[in-house]
């Protein structure tokens, strides 16, 4: 494999990782502040993609579609927080899992009811279509590059929000001590709704960005959700830094694994068997990575005990 191809694959892994980060960041934030595990996070991702597709189709503008995605994911997030999720904060994880599992069923079928069974169309905007030439003569998709940049910008924004602003202070206080934040006179239920909506918006953003280069269809959220879980387990729950590190690790492992493993196996196996076996193993690679992390650091790379 040439160096140029390797660099391109590393960029691809990075882009995949950044996309996972947007999902994992919302999940980890919601868990960190409210102690809630939210399976319906994948549904918010799907809502983002559908809203972007519908918005772009109605207005002809990708940017307006993106805004539609952010607002509808945040709105639906706030809506379920107000109606369902807030009843779950005091409940055990089992109740949270089952209630949010029920939300997946409802959201998926309702989306199919509204939009029908066929996938929706969403294209990359004209100003981001095509490729750019990177230093070293690497041709790379402009849109994917944009995803990497947006993801990294979101990561920086989240760090700043949490470490520098008043809202961030409240979020950190919420993580540490729920009673203290009540004593500070902060209306905790408003804060919770805001944090949940923020997490939802991140999921929606991720869904919309990915929707332009993937198929926008019902059920698109759950595989990503499970990957985001793997990211969180690796990175350590509640930590934005951990989510970023875990996401990029998973993105790189998956991308490089599925390109390198078949090549590796082909060096000592019959080529067609090597592709099947290599691909089979590659599909399990990130879980093996997760098992390895669990073995040595059960609380994740950046998790606290």
């Amino acid at each position: 494999m040439s160096i140029i191809l390797l660099i391109e694959q590393i960029l691809n892994g990075l882009q995949f990782g950044v996309m996972l980060f947007l999902m994992a960041a919302g999940l980890t934030l919601i868990f960190g502040v409210m102690g809630l595990i939210n399976l319906a996070h994948g549904s918010l991702y799907m809502i983002g993609a559908f809203a972007a597709a519908a918005g772009a189709a109605a207005t002809g503008s990708f940017v307006l579609g993106l805004i539609a995605a952010l607002t509808s994911a945040a709105l639906f997030g706030a809506l379920i927080e107000l109606t369902v999720i807030r009843r779950l904060y005091a409940r055990d994880h089992l109740d949270q899992v089952l209630a949010t599992f029920a939300l997946i069923l409802i959201f998926s079928e309702a989306t199919r009811w509204v939009f029908g069974s066929f996938p929706l169309f969403l294209d990359t905007p004209a100003f981001l279509s095509g490729t750019v030439t990177l230093p070293g003569g690497i041709l790379y998709s402009k849109y994917r590059l944009a995803i990497i940049l947006i993801g990294l910008a979101v990561a920086v924004g989240l760090f700043l929000l949490i470490s520098k602003t008043r809202v961030g202070m409240r979020i950190r206080a919420g993580e540490n001590d729920r009673e203290m934040i009540g004593a500070l006179g902060v209306d905790i239920s408003v804060l919770y709704t805001m944090v949940f909506a923020l997490g939802a918006a991140l999921a929606g953003l991720s869904g919309a960005l990915v929707g332009a280069i993937q198929s926008v269809e019902v059920g698109m959220g759950e595989p990503v959700l499970i990957l985001a879980f793997v990211v969180i387990v690796i990175g350590g729950i509640g930590s934005i830094k951990g989510a970023l590190a875990g996401a990029i690790l998973v993105g790189l492992t998956d991308t490089l694994g599925r390109t390198l493993l078949p090549v590796l196996f082909a060096s000592f196996m019959d080529p067609s068997a090597a592709t099947t076996v290599g691909s089979a193993l590659a599909s399990m690679l990130i879980y093996i990575l997760m098992a390895g992390v669990l073995l040595f650091k059960p609380t994740g790379l950046f998790g606290s005990a």
């Binding site: 868990f31 595990i37 369902v84 009843r87 994880h93 089992l94 109740d95 899992v97 089952l98 209630a99 599992f101 029920a102 939300l103 997946i104 069923l105 409802i106 998926s108 079928e109 309702a110 199919r112 009811w113 759950e222 499970i226 879980f229 793997v230 969180i232 387990v233 729950i237 099947t276 691909s279 089979a280 599909s283 399990m284 879980y287 093996i288 997760m290 098992a291 669990l294 073995l295 059960p298 609380t299 994740g300």
Partner: protein, 328 residues
């Protein structure tokens, strides 16, 4: 309000009565549905040991369900084709005997549960949920992409496996067999719940620190419970495969894990017969709602949401007077 023992008898009595009535009315499909309920109930009872008694919220029990199913599929397909499973270092033949298949299913799923549990139990709480879910997904992808046993196509077994003295193809006889397995599993789990092991397991669920300070090795305790739980679910997987005469990677999917959990919450967490009632109700809902609308998952979701938010004890909890969460 009834004592729990009465409710248990009522649930099991109903599950037994429905197929008998169906037999009299010549409605064999209803017998098949009741059989499915009994088999899924076994899976639910298995998970309930870990989840209800032990407080171990495993979102990956589809893994053991699938391993049990494939134990059946692999053994039976080799027997059908008269090819040995393995020749070196020693010869292993396939089999069409349910008893052997069950044994293999139990051992294989227990082994997988041991591996997954040993790793997952290093974590707790939300981590545990996510890790078990992820390991389940890993096996799912493995089953799909591993070509030897059909991959996504799955494996078809055209004739049910045999059980001494029974014609397993006869719906009512196969139901009887599955129902008997369910009774035995309930009996064993009931014994376990009341044993020192069960008391310690549930005690550790209620207060982990307490269990440790009385000298109980909580990790080993939970790992044991997890392995037994996985083995029971694996047995259910083998039965389920025989019910359909077919196995496929769908048995490994995360939705399957979710469904097994749903049986428990519908019926009542940590109730001995909760999963039995839950599985029966789930299948009833699937067929009643499924007939009403293409979009029946919306209704199922709404019902589930209602039960979780407002009717915590599930069916058994709603009927029973004792709110306590353990079998004492």
């Amino acid at each position: 309000m009834l004592p729990e023992r009465m409710i248990n008898l009522l649930i099991l009595g109903l599950l037994l009565a429905v197929p008998l009535v169906a037999l009299a009315m010549d409605e064999p499909f209803i017998i098949t549905l009741a059989t499915k309920a009994a088999v899924l109930a076994v899976a639910g009872v298995g998970l309930n040991l870990a989840l209800g008694q032990g407080g171990l919220v495993s979102f990956g029990h589809a893994a053991y369900f699938g391993v049990g199913g494939y134990a059946m599929g692999i053994l039976a397909s080799h027997a059908q084709s008269y090819t040995p499973l393995m020749e070196a270092p020693f010869l292993i033949e396939g089999t069409k005997s349910m008893l052997v298949i069950w044994l293999v299913a139990i051992v294989a799923s227990a082994l997988v549960a041991l591996l997954v549990g040993a790793l997952s139990l290093r974590t707790s709480g939300v981590y545990f949920i996510m890790v078990t879910l992820a390991f389940g997904q890993m096996l799912y992808y493995f089953a799909i992409s591993w070509p030897a046993y059909g991959g996504e196509d799955g494996l078809s077994i055209y004739v049910r496996n045999g059980f001494p003295g029974l014609n397993t193809l006869d719906p009512i006889q196969f139901f009887g067999l599955c129902f008997a397995v369910l009774l035995i599993v309930l009996f064993v789990v009931n014994l376990l719940n009341k044993s020192p092991f069960g008391l310690a397991l549930n005690g550790a669920h209620q207060n982990e620190e307490r269990a440790r300070t009385v000298g109980i090795n909580v990790y080993r305790l939970r790992l044991t419970a997890f392995v037994i739980s996985g083995a029971i679910t694996g047995l259910a997987g083998a039965l389920f495969a025989d019910l359909n005469r077919f196995v496929s990677p769908t048995m490994f999917s995360w939705q399957t894990s979710g469904e097994i959990m749903v049986f428990i919450i519908l019926g009542g967490v940590a109730r001995l017969c909760g999963p039995v009632a839950g599985a029966a109700v789930y299948i009833l809902l699937e067929h009643v709602l499924g007939g009403l609308s293409e979009y029946w998952h919306i209704y199922l979701g709404a019902i589930l949401l209602f039960v979780v938010l407002f009717a915590k004890g599930g069916l058994v909890g709603g009927l029973s007077r004792r709110e306590v969460h353990h079998a004492g």
